[in-house]
Symmetry: C2
Subunit: 431 residues, 2 copies
């Protein structure tokens, strides 16, 4: 039985697109053996038609989407342009033209996923996006399929490799944030404009996708509470370590049956927990289901080759179905509208770092404010004092408290004459 | 759109079967919402028709397979009888009757998987077995689908919870093997007849399945080299820890392009490695692919609820496809016949524990034997001596060596007059 030839188009030939083109060129034979489908790259959408690209013959390059969409031999469109536009527009038009689409675009799927999935369903084509979250780590398919019988209660993960690299460098080398960022940039782990990563937009897009799938609900990226890593200092890492915690940019989604929580922010994690030990550019996601218990998925969350692994997994999922004469599953896009809990209503523990006057009675004043807001303190530790400035730094750990109360308490504390500065406050989770 | 009702039969209502029946009864509505398919349990094959079972109405119980196979309303048969027969026979007859089959039976799939998959393909039905390996941890679907574009070079895992519980108890509590086994039995983690687990038959079945999928080859269970955990002593754990290693029953599959290695045996693992930290009844599998890099999957490898999670994932995979009018994927059963490397030809490092005469020159004699077999020693450490017996215990760690040489060297060493006993020898891996 000779494999069926299936036409593919590649939108974008950057780092990831080049990886996909290379793999398509170099392993067409073995992939055909495994799936019964031989993938033929028919078009590559590029910006600069003159630039030579290995594994992409100039004859198939185009700088216009129209010939791609008009080619009836193209069954699958792979979108690796990144960014919102024109990627979202091209994906929609490809689906409307009856083409299956595989994308690595977390921003587009997070913002327009429900609408695009509806278009796909209407046209009877697939829209797959395993590569949008976790690089090569299979997360989307397990959530959509293998775990579908579970009621999932929480999903927590390190899903941005850039920030995890920076936080690991700050923790292990004692670097300041700006130094660690510069190091990450020089190694190519952070973009020249790092905003998307360090302000946690990227992680928020990914969490919106994961939470939507995990809880069968619509979680839009603007509903994800988002806090970046720029306020963390080397002192926070030192104090956290002394207390037995690591600091990670944790993406957290929870469903207690009443409301969904979805938030990405720096988090103190007890250092013996697995997620606390995920270092460098690695990603890990921990999922709790009522049947399955706790699962952990760990691997490379970014890079051309892991992303290519995920993209080709999706492409071959579609291609194998076509080769077998089975129209690929379009997926059930049905999602409920569930309440999203505002950040002020969450409950967790908190780490608070204050610079205060180095004089008697200060602890008592601060403790009283916490008590007035019904927040119990689990420890108050004086960390360092500056004799010249007659100031001291103290770290307070609270018991589980409602965020609104903590915010109100910190606003009052900032007004106290004995408090010079609220240095930082960080949520503490013990997953 | 009302969900399509899909008839299901359950073969076996033991611990796992009861879990499946409970989940089917208690979450039919939400599963129908998620998949468009409402599962209706139509038959339960049991041994004792008189015994009452929660979630299984007596009216649907039968002690004969024929009415199950003859019912045209049964689309999916769930086999959770366990053991080789009659499970293998029932699975075959169900497939031949045009029914999709979901099974948790590692023994049947390891022994008869290729033949049964061929029957399924011929009849245009699915045979899925996610629950056969790793309990609720999704492993089969990622290997068959998400990772399909990769060339996988190795797969290593802790895939038997019973032995991992026993080894963890020996390591952490210093228990002897028989005491740890008795503890596991009293907690229900080990069977009254523990042979299948402690002699690594269970892990060998699972590894045969994983290796077959990972390398697209036929790896039969009798081709898996298998060594149980009964020879391990508390001293091995103590010495391993002193050297910086944990001892795990590791399932190892490798493909270097020339031959496939598939082996399950006690293994020294450097204690900082993730797999060395997987304790108790948990399972973990680490996969290395050329695109994806290293992946790790971790979770509960056994138990009614995790196994139910995996079984229902497969059942709903099939049911959702039927509900959408799409015949489920039968899978491409094509597998190459690849050479399997005999255990004598593998190369790894070795830990050797010897009881020797406590006198000068002994080290030299032993070292000469290793040298004669071209095995380099990385360390020789005298651990303990017994003044009365004039004996000492020494531990030797080798560099990477060919197993045939190590076996020959140990046979010669056992003959030396200064050697009282070859206490144990254990392979060392640093994944």
């Amino acid at each position: 039985l000779s494999p069926r030839v299936i036409g593919v188009a590649l939108l974008g030939v950057g780092v990831v697109g080049s990886g996909v083109a290379e793999a398509l060129a170099q392993r067409a034979g073995e992939l055909a053996e495994r799936t019964g489908a031989r993938l033929a790259l028919r078009h590559a959408l590029v910006r600069d038609l003159q630039r030579p690209r290995p594994f992409v013959p100039p004859a198939i390059c185009t700088d216009r989407i129209e010939p791609v969409l008009a080619d009836p031999e193209v069954a699958i469109v792979i979108e690796v342009l990144g960014g919102e536009q024109p990627a979202a527009d091209y994906i929609r038009r490809a689906l409307e033209a009856g083409k299956h689409v595989v994308t690595a675009n977390k921003e587009v799927i997070a913002k327009f996923g429900p609408e695009l999935l509806a278009v796909a369903q209407e046209r009877g084509v697939s829209l797959l996006f395993e590569a949008a979250v976790g690089g090569g780590v299979p997360l989307i398919m397990p959530l959509r399929r293998a775990l579908i019988a579970n009621r999932l209660s929480s999903l927590e993960g390190i899903i941005n490799g850039t920030t995890n690299y920076i936080l690991t460098a700050m923790a292990q080398q004692g670097l300041a944030f700006t130094t660690a960022l510069a190091q990450a940039q020089s190694l190519g782990y952070a973009e020249p404009d790092p905003t998307n990563d360090i302000e946690a937009h990227d992680a928020a897009y990914k969490l919106a996708i994961l939470a939507s799938l995990a809880f069968h609900a619509t979680v839009r990226p603007e509903q994800v509470y988002r806090e970046g890593i720029t306020r963390l200092t080397d002192r926070d890492f030192r104090y956290a370590r002394e207390l037995g915690y690591a600091i990670k940019l944790l993406a957290i989604a929870k469903d207690d049956g009443e409301a969904i929580e979805a938030r990405v922010h720096p988090t103190l994690l007890p250092e013996q927990q697995v997620l606390a030990k995920v270092d460098g550019v690695f990603n890990a996601v921990q999922i709790d289901g009522d049947l399955v218990g706790r699962l952990l998925f760990y691997g490379r969350g970014a890079g051309a080759r892991p992303t290519t692994s995920a993209i080709l997994g999706d492409v071959l999922e579609i291609a194998a179905a076509i080769a077998l004469g089975q129209p690929p599953r379009t997926g059930n896009g049905l999602r409920s509208n569930r309440p999203i809990r505002p950040i002020e209503a969450i409950q967790t523990r908190y780490y608070v770092r204050l610079t205060v006057a180095d004089q008697p009675g200060v602890f008592a004043r601060i403790a009283q404010v916490f008590a007035d807001h019904a927040i119990s303190i689990s420890s108050v530790i004086q960390k360092e004092s500056d004799e010249d400035a007659r100031s001291a730094e103290i770290v307070i750990m609270t018991h589980r408290s409602r965020e609104a109360g903590v915010r109100a308490a910190l606003a009052s504390i900032a007004e106290l004459p004995v408090v010079f500065e609220v240095g930082n406050w960080i949520r503490v989770e013990s997953a």
